[in-house]
Symmetry: C2
Subunit: 208 residues, 2 copies
């Protein structure tokens, strides 16, 4: 699908078709997600995919009963690894090898990352994982797989259900699946969007 | 450009060609950005685009001297409107009209949004604006326009330079422009990315 079409036709879906997503299909979406940008290329994203009935039922409870959590073929939860040092060695040595930065600077950065206090990294992982999750929405839709990014869920319950390490900060939950194209939701006119005239301004106030 | 190609070939660019971006080109990118999702469809994004020499020089200072801020054709700064009530009336009445929710529920939500304390909305605007900024990167690259999302800059200086309302929370800065395809940066091998094997797990631990 053309990029512009993917962007303009993607819509958040709550009514899914009764059709499975194979794990190969899911992993193929993540083959695109991996190319998302992150500061220093540290890639602090960790995704847990839940595609079994019991797991989805538990997540639905954590998401205050939202039905699409169990109706979807799968649910992906994006966590941000608060430990900046986790992949620092590979990432910075790769950059030194490929000429992006000097070797001594790379070694210094590896050290610095180990010292970063976790609590300062929350905003950074929220942004990085949200970028990756947005890539996921477009990569999925490019394959005909709809998604719904969800904000309303209890983070503690989700971490407990998925039993993730303490350094993983929960960022975003997305339901995934083929849309039910016969649903009322699918038939409805798209929701309004503000136009660029309304949300873009130029610093000097000038016009084209 | 195909969606997969846009996602997999986009890279963060610091070396820009000496080629302008017209305001029409910039606004056409935002015609795609507008379709980004946000919770309740509240669209809390406000972008300020800086494409004049003086403005870019000021932003470069706020960004600790990073050269691509002045070398780029333009810089876009994404702000999140902390006032959930700002567009609530239009957004919820639209949803009631189109059958997304009952009218009385829409009216109740309009009221509720007015009462949301601004300081609780920071994370929400960070996520919404990061989604919109990610859409911007792909929509731009689809038109051959490269970008670089930037985390390192002084938020207070940027708000002062751009003289934005106090309710606008600064989220992300992006440089924009055609890449210099003869630069060393462009020639370099892409930076490594972790593979889905490493950053995706399934809840039940099972394999395909």
């Amino acid at each position: 699908m053309e990029t512009g079409e993917a962007i303009r036709t993607r819509r958040s879906v709550h009514e899914y078709a009764d059709e499975e997503l194979t794990r190969d299909e899911i992993l193929s979406i993540f083959e695109d997600v991996r190319w998302s940008p992150s500061s220093y290329n540290l890639q602090p994203w960790e995704f847990v995919v839940v595609d079994d009935e019991e797991g989805q039922a538990e997540l639905r409870e954590a998401a205050y009963g939202q039905e699409h959590v169990t109706d979807a073929a799968a649910v992906a939860v994006a966590f941000g690894n608060l430990d900046r040092g986790a992949h620092a060695e590979r990432v910075f040595r790769d950059q030194a090898e490929k000429g992006y930065r000097a070797e001594d600077r790379a070694e210094k950065l590896i050290e610095e990352m180990q010292d970063e206090p976790f609590e300062q990294n929350e905003r950074w992982v929220i942004q990085s994982c949200t970028i990756a999750a947005t890539t996921l929405m477009y990569a999925a839709w490019d394959r005909g797989v709809a998604s719904c990014p969800m904000g309303g869920w209890d983070a503690d319950s989700v971490c407990e259900t998925l039993d993730v390490p303490e350094t993983w900060h929960p960022v975003l939950m997305l339901t995934l699946g083929y849309p039910d194209e016969e649903s009322d939701e699918w038939e409805r006119e798209r929701k309004m969007r503000r136009s660029p005239d309304e949300f873009v301004s130029f610093r000097d106030g000038g016009e084209e």
